[in-house]
């Protein structure tokens, strides 16, 4: 098993009127890209702020490479980089000066390093421009560059895709994957963009109302999706067809319009088709239906909470 970079143990953050984060525990290993999903106000940003030491947990421990954020703040932060809530940079300074400012807070970051990271985030031609003339996406990339300057083991990115164009999103994804694979950096990403997360992350965590609902690797998720597959048969007498299948196979069947949905795997198609044809039914079409990631998460949130859910 690879090294644990970030570890949260029973972390709780209570404000006067509500509990923002409730008893959350998870680990992130080196080279792992960890997606953090949840509706607005679910506690994503609060969790990330606690990891970065911007606010203190009410209970629980956060350690980065074994250093407690609360007790060994300076050592823990030496290994951490990130951007929280997409800050504006110092607009009156150039991109390069912004990076230089952050670099000067650490020991021995050379000009070459600064330029290299400028290039990595694709700003090499704009570094001399004042940041106030940057687009949102450029600022986002500059933010990531500053987070990487000191060679952190853990990268915390709050909504890194917001403000990026589709092309930018693809580049960002490639860039982050590369970082994780090549430099073994553990990356924690929060986002609304589920599809991006699916493609980017190794692990996904879902948080709602401060509670961690689901923590799964992408493989586990995909298996889960496989388990939810259905076969749609378009037939002339759907009600009769349904009865036939329930009697013969004991599968779950739903009837809608002139179609039936059978909860069965692909290999059962010839068998079911034969039985339907044997019973004098005509088949006009066969389709495989599976739930999307979105639907699975919606279901998850519906199951675990009784309240309303915002669409994310």
């Amino acid at each position: 098993m690879s090294r644990v970079i970030l570890k949260l143990e029973n972390v709780t953050k209570a404000f006067e009127d509500r509990v923002a984060v409730n008893n959350v525990s998870f680990e992130i290993h080196e080279g792992e890209i960890f997606g953090f999903l949840g509706p607005n106000g679910a506690g994503k940003t609060t969790t990330m702020r606690m990891i970065c030491g911007l606010t203190k947990p009410t209970r629980g421990n956060i350690t980065i490479c074994g250093y407690s954020v609360q007790r060994d703040f300076e050592k823990a932060m030496q290994l951490t980089g990130g951007i929280i809530e997409n800050p504006l940079m110092y607009g009156y300074m150039s991109g390069y000066d912004n990076l230089k400012y952050y670099a000067s807070l650490y020991k021995g970051i050379k000009k070459d390093t600064i330029l290299a990271y400028g290039k990595i985030v694709g700003l090499e031609h704009r570094l001399k421009d004042k940041v106030k003339h940057y687009s949102l996406g450029m600022r986002q990339r500059l933010g990531i560059a500053q987070a990487l300057l000191h060679n952190p083991k853990l990268l915390i990115l709050d909504e890194p895709f917001s403000g990026l164009d589709p092309q930018g999103v693809v580049e960002m994804r490639k860039f982050l994957k590369n970082l994780a694979q090549k430099y073994k950096i553990a990356i924690m990403v929060s986002s609304h963009m589920l599809s991006e997360m699916e493609q980017l992350c190794d692990t996904l965590a879902v948080i709602n109302n401060g509670q961690l609902i689901e923590l799964k690797t992408i493989r586990q998720l995909k298996e889960g999706i496989a388990g939810t597959r259905k076969i749609k048969f378009k037939v002339d007498y759907p009600n009769f067809a349904g009865k036939v299948i329930i009697n013969e196979f004991r599968y779950k069947v739903e009837v809608a319009g002139n179609s039936i949905y059978v909860a069965a795997t692909e290999d059962k198609v010839p068998e079911i088709s034969k039985r339907l044809l044997d019973n004098g039914l005509s088949i006009f079409g066969v389709e495989f239906i599976s739930k999307s990631l979105e639907e699975i998460f919606m279901d998850l949130i519906k199951q675990k909470t009784n309240g309303t859910i915002e669409i994310f």
Binding site: T55, E74, K75, M77, Y92, Y101, S104, L105
Partner: protein, 700 residues
């Protein structure tokens, strides 16, 4: 290390701001413009310049009283001034010793008299012993009389005292002593003498003698009060009962009138006395003066021809009104508000010794130097004439310093009995500033002790003033730096606020707070960066003012007599003092920087930080003008931000006004460097503590 890394990063950031360069330009422009408004007030010129063509002529002008061409600049006149101080010291000494002697002789007499009584009553002793004891009593009572009669020095030097000795309270006491003296020596027996003393209550009368004399001011005024009461009562009774003739009414009325006038004269003598005799509350004094005027005008109303009243009705009205005014009781009340002071004889002896030894020695030294020059009395060399004039100036300042030394020492001793914040409530102490008086005293003592003279020293720098006779480069530098301080303070407030609050506004505080630095290091780093900025700007303006000053004015390296905290005088090179000034300027700006940083941390707002800090700063400046005199004023924290004022020159501020007042804060009577420093340090510590705590617990 982290602190310095942050400080360096923040400092570099400061100089990326375009506004910094604008600030530099503004500062330079204002400093250059300030030249236009630089019109320094001259220094007090001590120099004497007797206009003679030879040394001998000048020498004669100074020493020969018949040579009138030199006006007031006369050796004899300065000698007289110095001697007046001795007279003054002597007056208080005699007053002290008279009281002491009266007390001693009174107690001694009573002891001896009681011994005599015991011996005489015991009956078993020999006549020799009785006679021996009686002789002691006789001798003591004669000594008593001698002490009592010995008032020449006091009544010669103090009009009020001499007036007191004409009053019956004084002469009655004298008669008591005379009677006792004559009874004790008229050959009558011991028993007769004792009976005489016992039957007439002489022991009590003798005790009275001491207290009447010790409290001669109060006794005098109360004496008038009693007389007024008696005369008023007599007049009242006669009128109310209507038993007397009109003539008698008028006589009674006139007697009362002149008695009240006599009181009024005595009061005037007291207030205008050359020597302070008691503390008179100025409000009480005004009140009693008004009551006297009112009483007199009531009596005067008798002569008002327009009144449609009979003579009797007039008298009747007057006595009723006077009864209402009750002047006698009012005087008694006034007397209780008088406060006696005490000038210890040891202090007076020390002053006397300084004058008779040190001052005389200096005088002799100056005279012998003058005589040496006068050996070539026909010399018309300017150098020699100037040297002689300088010696004459020294002679003159020596006499001035001596007077300052004596007056200030006596006044400072006297006010020890007063509540320090009420000093200005007293007649003759209306403008009394303890700090200034102390400062002057320290300076006079320094000159006398070291045998040096005022004209060889320059004054401490003050805003828009000359430290020497001619305007010099340092004067302009000090002036320009004061203005620069004002501007840099505002810049520092902006800078501190923007370093902190704009991080909140742009959200970059999050990126900063997640760096590997404890929160206190971030605050300290930012404070340090601002202070480096401030120091650079102070040095920058110093450089500008230096260049401008040196180009336009000469450099005067005459030493300056600085008086630290009104108690320590020291001679200092002007360059050194200017550097000290720079240090204190930086401290002053530091004060506002901390406040601005603190407020911007607390309120997370750039605008709030700037407006609150600027308001405080403007308030501090305007309070200089508005509330300069209030006692509590010195406890307002930001009044104590400028500590350079504790290096002397407070008495030079007397002639300032308007803009100058803005830049040269008055020092109050109760001012003290260490108190100011504590308030300064305490305020900064409180603000810093709040800032560190708030920033530490804050969520971003």
């Amino acid at each position: 290390m982290g602190v310095f890394r942050i400080a360096r990063a923040e400092f570099i950031k400061i100089f990326k701001k375009p506004s910094v360069y604008l600030m530099g330009v503004i500062l330079a422009a204002v400093l250059v413009l300030s030249l236009l408004f630089f019109e320094p007030i001259g220094k007090q010129n001590y120099s004497v310049k007797l206009d003679g063509s030879t040394v001998g002529q000048v020498y004669d002008m100074f020493t020969n009283d018949n040579n009138i061409s030199s006006g007031d600049i006369k050796k004899s006149k300065y000698d007289e001034q110095i001697n007046n101080n001795l007279t003054k010291i002597n007056f208080y000494k005699v007053l002290n010793s008279r009281n002491e002697e009266l007390f001693n002789v009174n107690s001694d007499f009573i002891v001896l008299y009681n011994d005599l009584k015991d011996i005489s009553n015991s009956g078993s002793t020999t006549d020799d012993k009785i006679n021996e004891a009686f002789t002691s009593v006789k001798n003591k009572i004669r000594t008593y009389g001698d002490v009592y009669n010995n008032i020449t020095t006091l009544s010669e030097n103090c009009e009020f005292y001499s007036h007191f000795t004409t009053l019956t309270i004084y002469t009655d006491a004298k008669n008591v002593l005379d009677e006792l003296i004559s009874r004790s020596s008229d050959g009558s027996s011991v028993v007769t003498f004792i009976n005489f003393v016992e039957n007439n209550g002489y022991i009590e009368k003798l005790n009275n003698i001491y207290s009447i004399n010790k409290n001669f001011v109060k006794s005098t005024l109360n004496y008038y009060a009693e007389n007024i009461k008696t005369k008023q009562k007599d007049y009242y009774n006669r009128v109310i009962n209507n038993t007397s003739s009109q003539d008698i009414f008028i006589t009674l009325k006139n007697n009362l009138y002149s008695e009240i006038n006599a009181f009024s004269d005595a009061l005037n003598k007291l207030v205008n006395s050359t020597y302070s005799l008691t503390f008179i509350d100025k409000t009480e004094y005004e009140n009693i003066k008004n009551v006297v005027t009112k009483a007199l005008s009531v009596i005067d109303s008798y002569n008002d021809s327009n009144a449609n009243l009979t003579d009797y009705q007039k008298h009747h009205n007057i006595v009723l009104e006077l009864e209402n005014i009750s002047l006698g009781n009012k005087i008694n009340d006034f007397v209780t508000t008088l406060i006696n002071f005490d000038i210890p004889t040891t202090t007076l002896n020390k002053l006397e010794k300084t004058i008779t030894e040190r001052v005389e020695e200096l005088k002799a030294g100056l005279i012998s130097s003058m005589e040496t020059l006068n050996k070539e009395s026909n010399s018309s060399s300017t150098k020699n004439i100037n040297a002689l004039n300088d010696l004459i100036t020294s002679y003159r300042t020596l006499s001035i310093n001596t007077t300052t030394m004596v007056d200030n020492t006596i006044n400072l001793e006297a006010i020890k009995v007063l509540d320090s914040n009420k000093i200005n409530n007293y007649e003759n102490f209306k403008e009394f500033n303890k700090y200034e008086v102390n400062e002057q005293l320290t300076s006079a003592n320094y000159f006398i002790e070291n045998g040096v003279y005022n004209q060889h020293y320059n004054d401490v720098f003050a805003f828009n003033k000359n430290s020497g006779i001619e305007t010099n480069a340092y004067d302009f530098m000090f002036y320009a730096m004061k203005i620069a301080t004002l501007i840099i303070t505002v810049f520092a407030i902006f800078m501190a606020a923007s370093l902190m609050a704009s991080e909140y506004d742009s959200g970059t505080i999050k990126l900063l707070a997640m760096r590997p630095f404890k929160r206190w290091k971030i605050i300290t780093g930012k404070l340090l960066a601002t202070m480096i900025f401030v120091v650079l700007f102070v040095l920058f303006s110093f450089l500008i003012s230096l260049v401008a000053g040196v180009c336009l004015y000469p450099i005067d390296s005459t030493p300056i007599l600085a008086i630290f905290n009104a108690t320590t005088a020291f001679s200092i090179n002007p360059i050194l003092l200017m550097l000290i000034n720079l240090g204190f300027i930086i401290l002053e700006i530091f004060f506002y920087t901390v406040i601005a940083l603190s407020i911007s941390t607390m309120f997370r707002s750039y605008t709030a930080a700037i407006s609150i800090s600027c308001i405080m700063f403007i308030l501090a400046l305007s309070l200089n003008i508005l509330l300069g005199g209030a006692y509590w004023y010195s406890f307002i924290p930001f009044i104590n931000a400028d500590l350079f004022k504790y290096f002397g020159g407070s008495f030079l501020t007397g002639t300032t006004g308007g803009l100058s007042t803005l830049f040269s804060p008055t020092l109050l009577s109760n001012a003290n460097f260490y108190i100011s420093l504590s308030i300064y340090g305490g305020t900064i510590l409180i603000f810093l503590a709040i800032t560190y705590i708030v920033f530490k617990v804050k969520d971003f």
